[in-house]
């Protein structure tokens, strides 16, 4: 009874809000979406998981967004002014910004939110390490006073990979950055319906009536007008792949974020469904640089020369679209430097064995963490395992669930005390645009991401890249980082797989990239 009356109430409200002569008796329009994973944490600053980021983009807004070429465009910002020396950035907020609790968005909310973000995000840390001061000039203006010029400032504030620089009310933004905010108040196009939230089963959002989309521009990756055509969006968690497929086939659900690529041929023969273009996903292998065998750079290099990227991608990408020739970067900094020489797909395993022995491999156990509940990671791990075995590596394939993998990978202990040697994981392609977004290519030791690669050369080059203002010079530095990465191997890029969604064919207006619920309408 509750939900129905509630819906009728909200319908009445929406009818009242619009002009009376347009008020037609129509049921509240609901978009039913099947997310790729269940939403557990509601705070995109405290958590970096894919569903949390998606949730973040619905409920919150960012000062800048990226257009379809990944160039930053003002989103909540009206625009910015940079002083002649490049040290003072003045950003003005556009008119008509409100939080879901009805309060207007003020500059001090922005300051508090960005401060909190900078405590968690790598790019944010870089920005704030160059910032003397961030202050609210007046209610609608914030100013960055930098120590040195940083042209990437809008790119940082508009980054689309986690953690995204979301703006929340100051009272919430003052929360400890390592603690998740539980009250969800943003200024995004959707408000979160807390009373309907059932973790692991259902997440519900309502169109935020007071949201003013940008007046002009196109819907980009995260920029442009966020016009909402549904009264309500529901995420229904369906853990079973074939049930999710059946739900789309029968029309009970509208849109599925992450079907298996192998399902796509079914769609091509069915006029009631369509494929939704989405972003790619990069599969990679992360190595633990702290303990044998992969604390030995020579062993890492031999692994790189043997890994069979094609077979792994065949298993991961299946009948879909994929490629196995990627380097570190996929965006404007993309380079082929050293890829062919590094990934040779060797099969002369007898030589490999003697080389491994010469490099000092003594048959140390190589603990491979495998989340068997994530099909891609499982497939990649199984294919790679067969290569590792042929190489003579002593693989300990540990079948775990992904939750345990994310717990275990944090362990800096040696293998015999619960530590690990390697694991596979995938991340959206927008994390791999350039040295600013690709935190996996960083090598800042124990401060860095799991695996803790330590290479002063890579760090030094990355610093140079951040300081460079010329695109050609940046490209040169990026290719140097890549060449260095094939020596130090912070991670092993395997390939990129296109991860399209699946939807009923009466839905239109999809934009590329992560699932965006604005612009989409039912015809």
């Amino acid at each position: 009874m509750k939900r129905r009356t509630f819906l009728q109430g909200s319908l009445a409200a929406s009818a009242a809000a619009s002009l009376p002569r347009f008020a037609v008796a129509q049921p509240a329009s609901v978009l039913k979406f099947i997310p790729g994973a269940s939403l557990a944490i509601l705070d995109p600053i405290a958590n970096t998981s894919a569903p949390t980021r998606l949730h973040g983009f619905m409920v919150y807004d960012t000062l800048y967004g990226l257009d379809s070429n990944f160039a930053p465009q003002p989103q909540m910002a009206e625009g910015h002014e940079v002083s002649a020396d490049g040290l003072d950035w003045t950003i003005k907020l556009r008119d008509g910004l409100f939080f879901h609790d009805g309060e207007p968005v003020r500059a001090k909310d922005v300051v508090a939110s960005l401060n909190r973000w900078s405590k968690r995000d790598t790019f944010g840390k870089t920005l704030f390490s160059r910032t003397n001061e961030l202050l609210a000039v007046d209610d609608k203006t914030v100013r960055f006073r930098l120590k040195r010029p940083f042209a990437l400032l809008p790119a940082a504030l508009g980054k689309v990979g986690s953690n995204i620089a979301v703006i929340m009310p100051e009272r919430l933004a003052l929360t400890d950055p390592s603690k998740a905010v539980t009250e969800v108040i943003g200024s995004g196009p959707f408000s979160f319906v807390a009373k309907d939230y059932s973790p692991g089963a259902l997440v519900a959002y309502e169109k935020f009536k007071k949201y003013t989309p940008r007046a002009s521009g196109e819907v980009g990756f995260s920029s442009g007008p966020k016009t909402v055509h549904f009264d309500r969006v529901e995420w229904h968690v369906i853990p079973d792949g074939s049930t999710a497929l059946a739900a789309i086939q029968s029309g009970e659900m509208d849109w599925w974020e992450s079907p298996l690529p192998d399902f796509l041929p079914i769609v091509q023969g069915n006029p009631s469904m369509k494929i939704v273009p989405a972003g790619g996903q990069v599969m990679f292998l992360r190595l633990n640089h702290l303990y044998p065998p992969f604390n030995n750079p020579e062993i890492r290099r031999i692994l790189l020369s043997c890994i069979d990227r094609k077979s792994i991608m065949q298993a991961v990408g299946g009948g879909g679209e994929w490629r196995d020739d990627i380097g570190l970067y996929l965006g404007s900094m993309k380079t082929d430097a050293g890829i062919k020489e590094a990934f040779r797909g060797r099969t002369d395993f007898d030589n490999v064995k003697s080389e491994l022995a010469a490099a000092g491999y003594k048959g140390e156990r190589m603990v491979m963490l495998v989340g068997t509940d994530t099909p891609r990671n499982l497939a990649a791990s199984q294919v790679a395992e067969s290569t590792f075995k042929k190489m003579g590596l002593n693989v300990d394939f540990q079948s775990l669930d992904w939750g345990t993998v994310s717990q275990r990978r944090a362990s800096m202990e040696p293998p015999e005390k619960g530590g690990w040697a390697c694991f596979f994981v995938g991340a959206d392609s927008e994390y791999f645009l350039d040295p600013a977004t690709n935190f996996l290519a960083r090598a800042n030791g124990r401060d860095g991401w799991f695996g803790w690669p330590d290479s002063s050369r890579i760090e030094q080059l990355t610093e140079e890249w951040f300081n460079s203002t010329d695109v050609a010079a940046q490209k040169e530095i990026a290719s140097q980082i890549q060449l260095q990465a094939w020596k130090d191997i912070p991670y092993v890029p395997i390939g990129e797989v296109q991860a399209p969604g699946l939807a009923r064919s009466n839905l239109q207006g999809f934009a590329p990239g992560f699932a965006k619920f604005w612009g989409v309408k039912r015809t």
Binding site: S38, S178, A180, P199, H236, V237, D240, E252
Partner: protein, 313 residues
């Protein structure tokens, strides 16, 4: 009689206490640190230690068990490690689909299985009897999820009679609720039907061979009234017993059926919690499932007196 009922009710207390000890002990001996889980990706050891203290994980096991038991007795199951929501809220959200599923399964099973079993016993040795018995053994032999997929594919996708997945809450309309619950209950019923039909047949055969039935038959009481009036009434006790003990089977099956049909029930909550090492949720849900088993079997025991007046205490 009242004394017996009271005694029987009291006897559930030590059983539940043992269940509580078992659940708590099982989670205690398993590896995996909930504090690490909560702390997340980039936590420092100091943060983890602080969380551990907040959760009371640094206290001795018996103290923690005491605290937990005291909280549970007051109806406080703590907070979910994964989502931070109070466990009692999670359970309240999830209980309706599971209860619906179980009740529907029970209704379908009993209403199909008892006539089948009676029929089988009545036509003992006939082709019908054989067919029913083979069917019953077959019902045990198919995993619930295979039955579930087949049903969803046939009646959901191909014939479009019923939804292939999902749950419609009963307060939003009885018909949608019923439509949503039919396929999962059918999938789940198969095992239960087998179980009940077999026991019905066996006990019917046993009672029918008893003297008083023979006497009734000799007196010329019609076969049908004999079957349903005398024999079935006497067969009720073992049938009810099987229904009671079968609840455990039903709970296990509902975990699978809820996954196949995407029902947001307690079974899926349990699986998610187990996979995510969400200890407070695991403890609470397993405790609730066990309590319902104990409760159902308590009712069954008390029902004996209703069905079989010869049993008096």
């Amino acid at each position: 009689m009242m004394f017996y009922i009271g005694k029987r009710c009291l006897s559930t207390i030590p059983v539940m206490l043992i269940v509580a000890v078992l659940i708590f002990g099982l989670l205690y001996i398993t590896p995996g640190d909930p504090a690490l889980m909560i702390a997340g990706d980039q936590a420092t050891p100091a943060v983890v230690e602080r969380i551990r203290q907040q959760l009371g994980l640094d206290l001795p096991i018996y103290v923690r068990f005491g605290h937990w038991l005291w909280d549970v007795l007051r109806g406080d199951f703590g907070k979910s490690v994964l989502s931070g929501a109070p466990v009692s809220n999670l359970i309240a959200q999830r209980i309706q689909p599971t209860v619906s599923l179980m009740l529907a399964t029970l209704v379908i099973s009993v209403s199909v299985a008892v006539p089948l079993g009676v029929l089988s016993a009545w036509k003992r040795g006939s082709l019908i009897d054989r067919a029913v018995m083979i069917l019953c053994v077959g019902g045990f032999s198919l995993p619930v999820f295979v039955t579930g997929y087949l049903l969803a594919y046939t009646f959901g996708l191909q014939l479009s009679w019923l939804p292939v997945q999902g749950y419609a809450r009963i307060e939003n309309g009885v018909l949608p609720w019923l439509r949503g619950i039919i396929l999962p209950s059918l999938a789940l019923s198969l095992v239960y039907i087998s179980l009940i039909a077999r026991i019905t047949r066996a006990t019917m055969l046993e009672t029918m061979s008893r003297d008083y039935i023979r006497t009734a038959r000799a007196k010329g009481v019609a076969d049908r009234s004999l079957l349903f009036g005398h024999a079935l009434k006497n067969a009720a006790v073992p049938i009810v017993t099987v229904v009671g003990t079968g609840v455990a089977l039903l709970i296990g099956g509902s975990v699978v059926a809820e996954s196949v049909f995407a029902l947001p029930g307690l079974g899926r909550l349990t699986i998610d919690a187990i996979m995510g090492r969400d200890y407070p949720v695991i403890q609470a849900v397993v405790l609730i499932f066990s309590a319902s088993y104990v409760f159902v079997n308590l009712i069954v025991d008390l029902l004996y007196t209703v069905f079989d007046p010869r049993i008096s205490y």
